[in-house]
Symmetry: C2
Subunit: 87 residues, 2 copies
Amino acid sequence: MPRVVVDVMLKPEILDPQGQAVANALPRLGVTDVSSVRIGRRIEIEFTGQPDLDRAREIADKLLANPVIEDFSIRVTEAGDAEESHP
Amino acid sequence: MPRVVVDVMLKPEILDPQGQAVANALPRLGVTDVSSVRIGRRIEIEFTGQPDLDRAREIADKLLANPVIEDFSIRVTEAGDAEESHP
């Protein structure tokens, strides 16, 4: 069943303290080659019928993202798509 | 510059109250054809050199996801890839 995925990320010019906290913790794990970590939200929307991108964009704009500080992108994926996943 | 994207979602059998709250709010927006909303995290990791998937998997496993209740998937994307995005 296809679903719509909405990715919401802070705009690049907005500070991301949560991501910075992760980045600052990495040297303690022995990781020194990471320059930046940014943390946002991923929302999966399943429709009863065909996925509706315009409807999803309206939902994202009104309910999921704060357009003052966040950007979002929308795409349709198959449930079992080709991303490398961890069981 | 390529970056590694880690998507962290609750396992399907774990209740997602945040997603349910969004799903329950949709009829008030006039949206009645959504069957499910699940909300997770999207983490973008930038490396100083080549993106390192194994390193990113280690970071995700130790720092970004709780493997008891969450699944994660990892992929490399170009910064300006072909997702439909909102300005």
